[in-house]
């Protein structure tokens, strides 16, 4: 494994669409280790921040800097609604591995391992598109895990899942974290943030309001916006 891409820094990041400034002056560092949860109400810019950091969108101001070049290939993103290719569950994982030039026995080994660890081994031959929403999200996690990313971004991965499927996804996220991958995840679910976060990045209207250790954030939020959000007061 070559030198780490971490830390990654967002430097004075700005993003505009349709004349509206959706991300404004966002400066933030992703350090190796802690599970980072990006928290904020709808429209805070959580998903945009992930897409900018991952390189799916180009910022209109500022820049994204990873420690080493070619960082995009060592990241993965799990979307709120995963796109499953029209082929079997196993072939979906194979496809991601093929794009990273993982071939032969190594591909089979990695694919079988991640399907096993996401509880999908029995469903490997099924067409991915007939799996349930929860199974599809686990498959998306397996597909991301297979390429052994250094950073895994997750965009509201449980937003359309029931409690049982949500627990399964959270367990897998923790397993990926324990295997050494940096987790950066968005959510608007406070319970989930408490369960998973080591540190919180709190966004409001495209700006960084607070960046703190999870305990500090939940016990003593520094900003009025964060206090209002934690108390469930309407905030947008």
């Amino acid at each position: 494994m070559s030198a780490s891409i971490l830390p990654g820094r967002l430097e004075a990041l700005g993003f505009e669409a349709g004349g509206r400034r959706l991300i404004d002056g966002l400066t933030l560092a992703f350090e190796a280790g802690p599970r980072t949860v990006i928290l904020g109400p709808n429209g805070a810019g959580k998903s945009l921040t992930l897409r900018l950091a991952h390189g799916l969108l180009a910022p209109s101001a500022g820049r994204v800097v990873w420690r080493t070049a070619g960082a995009g290939r060592r990241q993965a993103l799990v979307f709120q609604r995963p796109v499953m290719l029209r082929r079997s569950a196993a072939a979906n994982v194979d496809y991601a591995l093929a794009l990273r030039r993982v071939t032969g026995a190594e591909r089979v080994r990695r694919r079988d391992k991640v399907l096993e660890r996401t509880g999908l081994a029995e469903l490997a031959r099924r067409p991915a598109r007939v799996l349930s929403t929860g199974e599809q999200q686990r498959l998306a996690l397996a597909r991301a895990w297979a390429i052994e990313p250094e950073v895994l971004f997750l965009d509201e991965p449980t937003a359309s899942l029931d409690p049982a499927a949500t627990r399964a996804v959270e367990a897998i996220v923790n397993a990926i974290h324990e295997a050494g991958t940096k987790i950066v995840m968005t959510t608007h679910d406070l319970g989930q943030a408490r369960r998973l976060a080591d540190e919180i990045v709190f966004l409001h209207r495209g700006r960084l309001v607070e960046h703190a250790a999870a305990e500090t954030f939940f016990d003593a939020p520094a900003s009025a916006e964060a206090r209002a959000f934690l108390e469930g007061d309407l905030l947008w």
Binding site: L56, A76, F79, V83, R86, Y95, P127, R129
Partner: protein
């Protein structure tokens, strides 16, 4: 009316007894159209997907031209191929005029725009759905072409069948470049035109029935494939 009834029964006798003259014509028709459509699919499917995914100068013009060519009259295509292949034409030295190869070339030109235009639409729709995910996985647009062709396989088979429908039904192009020569370049549509003009309704009707059955089978297959795609691979 007796004439028609007689013609119908004669036509069905020709089909039932696998009349060698009829079988030869049907065989040549299928050979020409299948080869033409096969080659058109090889070219048209990647071309259509590339038009949807890649950004290059002239892409819009090519797309418009492709859509316009979809409606090009077969006789015009036949005329173009005729001019290319005729003794004085640029490809005259090949000596291909009035051969099945010339007919394949004409039908190929007729079918490529259809297959490419439909493939472009399919690939564009899929790309709208897949783009972020594929880019995140590290898939460049060029690499996405085979991915989208595979994932759009059910819709694309329908596109290829539409191309086969056009190839097997057209008469103008193969008439001009093939010449409708007995035992050499006579296919179903040109034979129907000729036999009708000569008053031999039995053979014309027999071939007509086979063409209609072929069309039914193709459309039935397209329908079943579409249903399968919707049911199995949402």
């Amino acid at each position: 009316m007796d004439d028609f009834a007689g013609a119908f029964s004669a036509a069905f006798r020709l089909i039932a007894t696998l009349d060698p003259g009829l079988a030869e014509i049907v065989g040549l028709s299928l050979r020409v159209s299948l080869v033409a459509v096969g080659l058109a699919a090889l070219v048209g499917l990647p071309l259509g997907a590339a038009l949807a995914l890649l950004r290059f100068p002239g892409r819009r013009a090519l797309t418009v031209a492709m859509n316009a060519l979809m409606g090009m009259p077969p006789v015009v295509v036949g005329l173009i191929v005729y001019l290319l292949l005729s003794r004085a034409g640029p490809l005259g030295v090949l000596g291909l005029l009035f051969t099945p190869t010339a007919m394949i070339a004409a039908q190929f030109l007729l079918v490529v725009p259809i297959v490419a235009a439909l493939a472009r639409q399919v690939a564009e729709d899929l790309w709208a759905e897949y783009e972020e995910q594929l880019r995140s996985l590290g898939c460049a647009p060029g690499r996405a072409i085979p991915t989208l062709l595979w994932d759009g396989r059910f819709s694309l088979i329908t596109a290829v069948l539409a191309g086969f429908g056009r190839a097997s039904a057209e008469v103008g192009a193969v008439m001009i470049v093939g010449g409708n020569i007995d035992h050499v370049t006579r296919v179903m549509t040109t034979a129907i035109a000729l036999e009708t003009a000569r008053g031999d309704l039995a053979l014309a009707l027999g071939l007509g029935v086979i063409l209609m059955v072929l069309s039914l089978v193709i459309n039935g297959a397209a329908f079943v494939l579409g249903e399968t795609a919707r049911a199995g691979a949402r």
